[in-house]
Assembly symmetry: C2
Homo-oligomer: 414 residues x 2
């Protein structure tokens, strides 16, 4: 992506912004024929001069908000002031106007293509992050006395469980806490409650770096927080009652939460449910009951287009596997200088926590990496160590640069 942006963006600009083309050509004709070639080159280059060249860009390993596809940022930049000739920014559009309606409808239909979501499911663009869904889910599909099961493989699953205690009778049927959240349970050994309304999992634990590679069969419904691996690989949506995800890892900026919910689960919320947490309100109004986070939804739409242009999630997953492989290999082949605490079979493709054998070198590692324009490699404050988040938009070049740096760092400090 890093390299493609340079070549694609000017074209995008000319295609999407006819006025630029006008500007360029009129400027072009303002100069004598003998000078036109050089001038027209400068003008077409100058269409992106508001942003510095690619080499000024850092490799951002933040866990979210996280790096976005460079060509998506270039397109957003070119459309920010005047969206496709509408005479206004997407940020200024009435959410009920034809321009924004076309944006949100396209975003939904592209997401349905990416994940092959059937009409049995509603796709909602909401606010409040996964943390709001921790309450919305039991409020929408449970009665106060309903038992529900939670598998807790990290901090986020634990937070989801704790919030649910306010609205139903959740039970932790498996916790990885005693092993410092480094594994996923054996599904056959799970002690599920046959009356459980749903089984909740966090498909990828952003902080601990453990990821479900397959999914347990629930007594009733499977509900998954996919915030940090959403759209990073194909998923059989039909296996789930609800999938929810904050956008700020793989698909957009923070402030948008996507909920994919089976339609037959909608419409029986508890009486105490705030109207903004009621799925029926949003489903009946196509996510436009009140003003949605319009610009964030627009950005997600640009990312969905980019993922489809890459060949869809099958191709995206291949790239993510390759990136993760070279990083885990570097860790495993360091003779213990670097260490991954996570069981090999469930290591996350998205978030790669690792420690140094000599813990006293970790601060130096982060500091030197930052000097090399590789930022946000410090592990979450709750677990320490390092963490490299390598979401969809992290270029292979970024992981290769990190791996080269790790080997050099080891050579100097090993």
């Amino acid at each position: 992506m890093a390299t493609s942006a340079n070549t694609t963006t000017p074209n995008t600009l000319l295609l999407k912004n006819p006025s630029i083309f006008k500007t360029s050509t009129s400027a072009f004709h303002a100069f004598p024929i003998s000078k036109r070639l050089s001038i027209s080159i400068k003008c077409s280059h100058s269409a992106t001069v508001v942003a510095p060249p690619t080499q000024d860009r850092v490799f951002n390993f933040a866990a979210g908000p996280a790096t976005l596809p460079e060509n998506v940022l270039r397109k957003a930049e070119s459309e920010l002031y005047n969206w496709r000739g509408a005479g206004m920014s997407v940020m200024e559009m009435s959410h009920r106007g034809k321009e924004f309606m076309s944006i949100i409808q396209k975003a939904e239909s592209d997401l349905r293509k990416l994940l092959d979501i059937s009409d049995d499911y509603a796709v909602l663009f909401l606010q409040g992050g996964a943390t709001t869904q921790f309450a919305s889910i039991p409020l929408n599909i449970c009665k106060p006395q309903d038992p529900v099961d939670y598998i807790v493989t990290g901090s986020w699953g634990d937070k989801a469980f704790k919030e649910a205690t306010k609205y139903c009778k959740p039970k932790v049927i498996w916790s990885g806490k005693s092993d410092k959240y480094t594994g996923i349970p054996d599904f056959n050994a799970l002690d599920q409650n046959s009356d459980s309304r749903y089984l909740h999992i966090c498909a990828n634990e952003t902080i601990h770096g453990v990821e479900f590679k397959d999914y347990p069969t629930p007594a009733a419904l499977l509900v998954a927080d996919m915030s940090s691996n959403f759209c990073s690989k194909p998923v059989d949506v039909s296996k789930f009652g609800i999938i929810y995800a904050g956008a700020q890892k793989n698909v957009g900026p923070s402030g948008v939460t996507i909920v994919i919910v089976r339609k037959d689960l909608i419409g029986d919320a508890q009486e105490i449910t705030p109207v903004m947490l009621d799925y029926k309100i949003h489903a009946d109004n196509n996510s436009l009951y009140n003003t949605p986070p319009c610009y964030g939804i627009y950005m997600c739409g640009l990312v969905f287009e980019d993922l489809l242009a890459q060949g869809g999630l099958v191709e995206v997953e291949k790239k993510n596997i390759k990136k993760a492989q070279i990083l885990y290999d570097a860790i495993d082949e360091s003779n213990g200088f670097y260490r991954s605490p996570v069981e090999k079979s469930v290591r996350s493709l998205m978030n790669v926590p690792f420690t140094l054998e000599k813990a006293e070198l970790e601060a130096e590692f982060v500091k030197e990496a930052a000097k090399e324009k590789m930022i946000q490699l410090k592990g979450h404050r709750s677990v320490g160590g390092m963490r490299a988040s390598i979401y969809n938009a992290m270029p292979l070049a970024g992981v290769e640069k990190l791996v080269a740096f790790m080997k050099d760092f080891q050579a100097r400090h090993g």
Copy 2:
């Protein structure tokens, strides 16, 4: 603003983006001395060529999301791909990184300056719109049996009341419904419950265009939804227990909700309160308990800077009064061709609903205005007629153009 943008933006770009300056000069030096002047002019002009010229911009009278200051959009455009040399977009920044921390802290401190907010109040940047606050307020400051009073001057006040019925014992002590929401009550005649936990008002009704010019004295606390007139004029915050506002009218894009709450009211939420609706969680974490709507907060910050640069809210109010005056005058001096349903003394400076004596001409009015690049003048579907929303960022030139069009339309159809 419309005119200033042309001159200020290139300077902003050079100041905020040293790399552009580098790019320009290197391009500059690539040409023979005899050509430098003309080339450097082209390059400096081309720094804004990604956006069409100002005259391509529409006048957007939408009620929200609404028009934003043109110079703010230009600045956001220039910083979108690489924020002030950070090597990343604001949309990609970790909300716990030093870059975003500086953005949210500056936004809060500028808002405190604008409204002269004392340390007795917390300023929270949240999600979910005013509609989420309709639940958050009683959940945070009431027990289920607490009586509270609502003055209902329009659709939003009514929605706030209905949501509160889930969490406390609200009573409508005055409603303008029988008069189609065209007035504000006489404060002396209000039958307030002396035990009422708070008195709720909607300071400006976006749909009906009625605005409180002064505020009633509550039995206990005054709580105000200021979504559609927030930062449009000075407000004595010390008169209020809670002020809340969706950003998407006067201060930013949709997806950000600002809550100004007296600190002594924080920390006693009902047990059923979703964690994301608990003011204490957000106050204790400086609005960073979970990932906030970072880019929206950044945009609000740019708007706050712009409002301060205009001289603060005293100066902003003067401009708003002038804009509203010429529009209401045009209506009142039309010999009944145009009609404002709202009592003169409480007409909103922000949202100006009006009807045509010949209702059959309204569709034509909206259609012809759109041809003249004045959009979103159709009244809310619930009340019909027309509505011109003229928030802070609507230039005087936009209102003058609308008034000229109204007179011409009357001459042709009167």
